[in-house]
């Protein structure tokens, strides 16, 4: 069974584009990345899946259930972490966690306490007095404490300090290892690259690529960095040339032999050939 399955999902806000013909499959147990810049349609996709907005056309299923017909049942199996965590003013962290658990009709005291401890969250503080990052932690506990089958995370790390980010991702890894499907929407590519097994790239409302993170990173291109005195010219095979600290760096796509032949005739002190990172792939998708 698929955790998420959308078919030609389309949503316009009046005439403004939300998403167009989005067809996406996330299998159960996957750690799936959803990449795109601000305004590409990531949040629209998520809000449609959660039933906050109704799709214009197309359909979607979550854990085998229709998002329009079985909204409540689906939501009971989902943990959602919004990009901006906002709660009722005047309430304490403890009350918010209790309200969330009550709405799930579950007693989550134990799991909630463990998570608060790991994230160093004080239960007695008022949510309105918390910093952005600490409010985010409240949202994280709300999303996780009822042990959902599917986690939907919308730019989860904004506001969290690096130590908290590490703790957060280690919690996610544990959950993923015990079978939870994770759908991570982000514009921070290193996050996706380090954690996800598969990813989709969305641009102006349309999905432009969907593959394993390894495959996405492995377009034929290599990142080549040369130290020394070299004379090279940009061409179709040789792109994005830049000079940095006496080194020349460029993306090379094509057969590697001719490159080595050219390089062997030049004055080189050092040479690095590496996989381009996702950032570069991403730029490649967006520039073309």
């Amino acid at each position: 069974m698929n955790a998420i399955q959308t078919l030609n999902l389309t949503k316009y806000y009046g005439k403004a584009r939300g998403i167009i013909d989005l067809t996406l499959t996330v299998k159960e147990g996957e750690f799936f990345g959803f990449i795109g810049p601000n305004g590409a349609g990531k949040s629209t996709t998520i809000r449609t899946l959660l039933g906050l907005i109704t799709p214009g056309s197309g359909s979607a299923q979550i854990l085998g259930m229709d998002i329009r017909k079985d909204r409540e049942k689906i939501l009971s199996k989902i943990g959602y972490l919004p990009s901006e965590a906002i709660f009722y003013s005047g309430t304490k962290v403890r009350e918010i966690l209790k309200l969330s658990a009550d709405l799930h009709k579950k007693d989550c005291t134990e799991e909630g306490a463990v998570l608060c401890d790991r994230l160093q969250l004080n239960l007695s503080r008022k949510v309105s007095e918390l910093s952005f990052g600490n409010r985010k932690k409240v949202a994280i506990v709300c999303a996780l404490q009822h042990n959902p089958e599917l986690l939907i995370l919308d730019e989860p790390t904004s506001g969290l300090d690096p130590l908290m980010q590490r703790e957060f991702f280690s919690i996610l890894k544990e959950r993923n290892n015990s079978g939870t499907t994770i759908f991570l929407s982000s514009h921070i590519l290193s996050e996706i690259q380090h954690n996800c097994t598969r990813a989709a790239i969305i641009r102006e409302g349309r999905m432009i690529a969907c593959d394993s993170v390894d495959a996405l990173s492995k377009t034929n291109a290599k990142r080549v960095t040369i130290h020394g005195n070299v004379q090279l010219h940009e061409s179709d095979m040789l792109r994005n040339m830049e000079e940095l600290n006496g080194a020349v760096s460029f993306l090379y796509s094509g057969d590697i032999k001719p490159l080595l032949k050219i390089l062997s005739e030049q004055d080189i002190t050092d040479l690095i050939i590496s996989e381009p990172d996702l950032e570069e792939i991403f730029m490649h998708y967006y520039e073309s």
Partner: protein
Amino acid sequence: MVMTLIKHELRQGWKSLMIWTISIGFFVAICVFMYPEMGNEMEGVNDMFSSMGSFTAAFGMDRLNFGTLIGFYAIECGNILGIGGAFFAALLGISALAKEEKERTAEFLLTHPISRVRIITEKLAAVMLQILIMNIVIFILSIASIAAIGEEILWNELCLLHLSYFFVQIELSGICFGISAHLKHGGLGIGLGIAIVMYFLNIVANISESAEFLKYITPFGYAEGADILDKISLDIGKLMLGMAFTVIGIALAYWKYTRKDIQ
């Protein structure tokens, strides 16, 4: 666990409920306590008012006797409870659904496994419950202060007066609740505006005979102290029409909110 949202709404709203209830209750009690002093001079006041023409008609004072406690109560306390209660009910109704989007907590609430129908129902119940609590407390305060000044308690008249204002509040909150479902940025101004306009429509209807039909539009039409004390009953026709408006408002809330896009 069954009524999670009602509990939550009451917890969120109890401070405001307390302030409104105490304020209105306090002013009603003050008015009652002022009566023994004023009662002696009321003969003169009655004469004075009878010479003021349409001003007295505006508040139904041409048909009420200031010289009796119940007549005095229907005008003074009626206005306080009428306006105060109407404001409170309108604010409750208009903010019930819209506040979630205005304060951006809608995303939190609506991503939990609770159906929208359930959300509407529990929020509506919380609104009605708060109005009920306020009216019961004010009624008790009022009866207690009448007993305190040693006046006879006319149960029928008092119950009917208070009941009519309770229905006014139910109607206003129901209509505002329906509007609330359509709003995105809150609408306290709209709520207050509706309450004020309804109040003035009744005054206009009292002054001009050709505007009599307005009494069928505004809920204050069936909460006219002079009519109630005159007949010792509520105008069932106007009341039923008012409750029909209430039902339409609530139905509109269900219709809209179950298909609304939450941004």
